[in-house]
């Protein structure tokens, strides 16, 4: 009996369970992330001659997909790689079921996914790559990694994505792996709430000036920002694009309160008011992926909570249930890419924590419990969420994988706020020009 206990304890203490952010029970609902170790396939990126930076980037992207148990091999075992056929047996003994082989091709790289169990090449593709100094180089390597993730798991990765966030009052852009940090708004102007257009070519944000502010739409390629149509006085905050990329929703604050408007930013017209707050606040709109509904924050019942309405402003109702007088303020909703959930933050003991509400069942689930965790934003794969946390001291972008509970930091030089995760960026994505 005693003999059995020791390995059992070790099993519980070690492994991915320790990466879980929370395992609390609350209000009879199991919160946090349940993860059964060992269900992810082991994957090895084969060593080989040349392509060191491509191999390092692909390995990290596959790791960050959180879909594989990454198996590290620093040097090729005898007969393991290099020229000639891959020695499947050696990597199988290391626990790998999949192997990624990267070899130099005429003007780029050939990627092969080996199925070690079936002893065959499952997928293969040759892609052209620009030189390592070309600004499009990293994006194309990330796209290749996302494609390999799709071969291996059925769903593409999210490496070829970027973040917008605010630091020191400026909007910055950064790659999903922390590279290519670039300011997008000028120094000395307070910018807030950046958000991507669906095509990744533009972003919207609030420019705060003298206590007033406009919702602006700016092309990443440059040029003058466009002011969103609508009330010119007061403060236009929390802009968000509809999935059609033509409609912008935002909240307008003036002395009668804060209300949600939509406007057509393609034809620069047709501002329409969706809520009538009468000294209450309605803000932070977020569209369902089909564009038919908008979740938002409202103070109509007192403290801010999460509501939902049709995109024309009708059928307004509570989305995330709360106990009046007990539940903390809830803010910053963002609708998931699959439409099933809305993530938001809710104060618990005056500290914001991430929560999910499922749209069909209206059940609320708490995701985090330690420190401040706020302003969540979905990855396009619908399983990763980026948010701002102070768990490392100052506020930084962190990324949680909902399936495994694994959390990683995306380091930025200054304190970060208000992140927005792009959709997968295509080959036409505007490349930062440092």
């Amino acid at each position: 009996m005693k003999r059995l206990c020791v390995p059992l304890v070790l099993l519980l203490a070690a492994g991915p369970l320790s990466a879980q952010d929370t395992t609390q029970f609350r209000e009879g609902v199991r919160v946090g992330v349940d993860y059964v170790p060992g269900t992810r396939p082991g994957l090895v990126v084969l060593p080989g001659p040349g392509l060191d930076s491509v191999r390092a980037m692909v390995r990290r992207d596959l790791d960050y997909s959180d879909r594989f148990e990454m198996i590290q091999v620093d040097d090729a075992p005898p007969g393991g790689a290099g020229t000639g056929p891959v020695n499947y047996g050696i990597y199988k003994t290391l626990g790998a079921q999949l192997a990624v082989e990267l070899v130099e091709a005429a003007s780029g790289v050939t990627a092969r996914l080996h199925d070690l169990t079936a002893s065959k090449v499952r997928n293969q593709q040759t892609v052209g790559l620009p030189g390592g100094t070309d600004p499009g180089y990293r994006l194309q390597v990330h796209q290749l990694a996302d494609e390999i993730t799709r071969w291996a798991s059925g769903t593409p990765g999210v490496a070829a994505t970027r973040f917008l966030f605010v630091s020191g009052g400026r909007v910055y852009e950064v790659d999903s792996d922390g590279s290519n940090l670039l300011p997008l708004t000028p120094d000395g102007v307070t910018a807030l709430s950046p958000t991507w257009s669906p095509d990744g070519q533009r972003f919207a944000y609030t420019k705060l000036e003298g206590g007033r502010g406009g919702a602006l739409v700016q092309a990443l390629a440059g040029g003058a920002p466009q002011v969103a149509p609508g009330p010119a006085s007061g403060l236009n905050i929390t802009p968000v694009f509809a999935p059609d990329g033509r409609t912008l929703a935002y909240a307008h604050s003036d002395e009668s309160g804060t209300d949600i408007y939509t406007a057509n930013v393609a034809d620069r017209c047709c501002a329409q008011r969706l809520t009538v707050g009468r000294y209450a606040d309605n803000l932070s709109p977020t569209f369902s992926p089909d564009g038919r509904r908008i979740a938002f924050v409202s103070t109509r019942a007192g403290p801010p909570q999460i509501y939902v309405m049709a995109a024309d402003g009708t059928d307004q109702e509570l989305l995330a249930p709360f106990d009046y007088g007990a539940t903390g303020p809830s803010n910053a909703p963002e609708w998931s890419p699959d439409g099933a959930n809305v993530v938001f933050h809710r104060d618990v003991s005056r500290s914001p924590q991430l929560f999910l509400v499922d749209v069909a069942g209206r059940r609320v689930r708490q995701l985090t419990s330690a420190g401040r965790n706020e302003d969540p934003t979905w990855a396009p794969d619908g399983r990763h969420i980026a948010f701002i946390s102070d768990r490392s001291g100052r506020r930084q972008i962190w990324i949680i994988d909902m399936e495994t509970g694994r959390v990683r930091q995306l380091q930025t030089p200054g304190a970060a706020r208000l992140p927005s995760w792009s959709r997968r960026l295509g080959r036409t994505a505007v490349v930062p020009n440092p």
Partner: protein, 190 residues
């Protein structure tokens, strides 16, 4: 130097008490005006010089009163966490502002709302906007024309106290009041 200044002050007070010129409309303000750095020797019986000093004294007192009124206009009010209600002990502050605004119809006011750093960054813009609007509505209820007041919000972007403790938060949850026009030579309310 000190003796001459005192004499100067004494003679000025005597002149005022004798009622040679139009007396000030209300009692002098509590703080005694600082002695003017007058390098002149003690005045002899010279009416032109006395008039000059009298004008200086009245101007000084008027400036003091205006300064006090300006300070009253700039007095901030504070709020409870996540609240935009005017607190009872801030009503007096707003009542005094309203009286000054009524007595000085050319004065325009910008009210800016602020929040502490704890709430959501974006919600704090709306909350601070509501705080500024609440002060404006209160002043309107006391007879100040709404067209003279503008409402702006800085959310949590401009903390008064950069700290992250309850004291700092309490200071940062506030409305600031800035006179944007007609602020020179404020007249005291009757």
């Amino acid at each position: 130097m000190r003796a001459s200044s005192l004499m100067l002050l004494t003679s000025a007070v005597l002149i005022a008490a004798c009622g040679g010129k139009a007396p000030p409309e209300e009692p002098a303000p509590e703080p005694t005006p600082a002695p003017a750095p007058a390098p002149a020797p003690a005045p002899v019986d010279d009416s032109a010089e006395r008039e000059r000093l009298e004008r200086e004294r009245m101007a000084r007192e008027a400036a003091e009163r205006a300064k006090a009124l300006t300070a009253e206009m700039a007095t901030m009010i504070n709020f409870e966490f996540d609240k935009a209600d005017i607190r009872q002990n801030d009503q007096g502050t707003l009542d005094r502002k309203a009286a000054i605004l009524v007595a000085n119809p050319n004065v325009k006011l910008r009210i800016s709302g602020h929040a502490d750093e704890r709430g959501s960054d974006e919600y704090n813009l709306a909350l601070a906007n509501r705080r500024a609007a609440a002060a404006k509505r209160y002043l309107e209820s006391k007879g100040v024309d709404g067209g003279r007041m503008e409402v702006v919000s800085y959310g949590e972007e401009r903390p008064l106290n950069p700290g992250s403790d309850e004291d700092a938060y309490a200071q940062n949850r506030r409305d600031e009041f800035e006179v944007t026009a007609g602020g020179d030579n404020l007249v005291a309310p009757q």
